[in-house]
Symmetry: C2
Subunit: 327 residues, 2 copies
């Protein structure tokens, strides 16, 4: 049997399109990476067996055995029960009923298994090996189709009493006629700062805008736009696109500042597809962040872009296993 320090971790990042895997050292260095397509047919019943097969097959390929691993960590969409290791309501996986993920993967691989939701796991990854510099207090937000968050404080994730800790996408940022959110309330950050939210803001501001603007013309011509197009046009100084970006980044800066006024993390890390807008986004969010933070928070909490990209999930998942199974 391998020495504890030589043992490895397996990180799994379960998404609606692909399932990413990695084998990592206890220090979080990735040694192997691979991925498979997510087969969501038949109510997602193929997903867990395909994860088990992918791990067992890969171990055989490398001539490795289960006892050389500390365990498996995984990030999953949907509502995760940490204790039971089950998932329910992951609609992009067609998982409508309770899935016994931990039970099945432990039986199928002979390894210990731990699970958390995908935004939390990405937060752990960015905190451990990315922009979070392994600090004890890191706030993470992911701007994608939706807006998710993961909060690390005193070195641990904040789940709250019922697992809704970190729902920064559902912080109310607009109290005057805010958009209706899929969650049922109005004015959530997600309604204006997700990829779809940014497009919604652009469409509404275009209706009121009467000047020259490529963005306005594009929308008037009935062409599809994306949040990336809005940011690209803003970078080219399109006046309407700049107004949209200002509005969106003001909301983001407000929500992140208010999170930082509560948590005073070392870093607020912005990830997800929308964060590809880079420093152009960061500079504007940071301005609104500084305008809304308590002085000592302004001086000690820094806003940053995520650095790990797609790897945040598998790295954070590996940290989960390390935290759970290494004493």
């Amino acid at each position: 049997m391998a020495n504890m320090a030589d043992k490895k971790l397996i990180g799994v990042d379960l998404g609606g399109t692909t399932i990413k895997f990695a084998i990592l050292t206890l220090d979080g260095d990735i040694q192997q990476r691979w991925s498979i397509d997510t087969n969501i047919l038949d109510d997602g019943t193929h997903i867990v067996p395909s994860i088990i097969d992918a791990i067992n097959h890969r171990l055989k390929l490398y001539d490795m055995t289960a006892d050389q691993f500390i365990g498996i960590g995984m990030g999953s969409p949907g509502s995760v029960d940490l204790e039971a290791g089950t998932v329910i309501g992951a609609f992009n996986l067609n998982w409508k009923t309770l899935q016994y993920v931990k039970r099945d993967i432990e039986t199928g691989t002979g390894m210990k298994f731990v699970i958390d939701n995908d935004a939390n796991v990405a937060a752990l990854g960015e905190r451990w090996k990315g922009a979070g510099e392994n600090e004890a207090d890191v706030t993470f937000i992911t701007l994608g189709t939706g807006v998710g968050g993961g909060l690390i404080a005193n070195g641990q994730l904040l789940h709250g009493v019922a697992g809704s800790g970190g729902e920064i996408g559902h912080v109310t940022v607009e109290t005057h006629n805010g958009y209706l959110c899929t969650c049922g309330k109005h004015g959530c950050l997600e309604t204006v700062a997700s990829a779809t939210g940014i497009v919604r803001v652009a469409r509404d501001m275009a209706e009121e805008y009467s000047g020259n603007s490529v963005l306005k013309k594009t929308l008037d011509d009935g062409e599809e736009i994306s949040s990336k197009i809005v940011f690209d046009m803003a970078k080219s100084n399109d006046p309407l696109a700049l107004m949209v970006v200002d509005k969106v980044t003001n909301y983001l800066g407000l929500a992140l500042a208010n999170a930082a006024n509560l948590l005073n993390p070392s870093f607020v890390v912005i990830g997800g597809g929308v964060s590809a807008a880079g420093d152009f986004l960061l500079t504007r969010v940071d301005k609104a962040f500084k305008a809304n933070t308590f002085p000592n928070v302004r001086e000690t909490t820094a806003v940053r872009l995520a650095t790990l990209g797609n790897e945040a999930g598998v790295i954070g998942a590996a940290w989960l296993a390390r935290n759970a199974f290494v004493k």
Copy 2:
């Protein structure tokens, strides 16, 4: 030497007017309580010696010795350095320079000592023996001259990287022409929901109000009002006072909802002088809270009034000592 389980805790609540003391069991039951006036003369140099004297004198009175105690916990105004056990910038104590509180009290009493800021300590007290029901996740807000907060998550206080965790009084709740706060930014919760903030809101709304109102008449007559007077008039259905209370409780509900969207605590506990308005306040805050919380948070996080009153500080201080020194 006494058995560990028989040992006692000392809790100290240092305020600008009085210093409260209590001797408690390890279960948090108060056995003795006393207090002394705070002597802030001579740059507050009498404060620490008077704390030491008060403890030593009381122990002598009860024929007790230092080794019968686990240690002393204390809550203090100002900026507290937890590790060093020092305090600076407690202006209501005239403490402008660094105070070596831990060093001096440990030397003077022969007991171990631990300190945190007063809002955090009150939060710990309410969480342990009050409305927080000893849950692992409790958010506490105190509405007094200012607005303070203490956040407990995963069973521990959240201090953040530089001690500003829990600054809920400086969460931005008004982004359109919010009042200037003493902290230098605009629209902080404290500017509208502290005792002085409520009076400010009342004065401004009275200027615009043209109907019949005892509150308006009182202000027009140049009489002084207080937040208590505003709430009392609202309870008597004064139309302007009701508008003021609605505005204030909407801001409070928004800020507490957004904190709960991040932390999903079991309880959000409202304490401090303004909370004496009781269920009249709570009902209105809760309505705004529910309008701004993510569904799963709305269902699992409850807003409550604090129950310990003035004793929250000494009880929370005792918990600090228990947490620090009982392994």
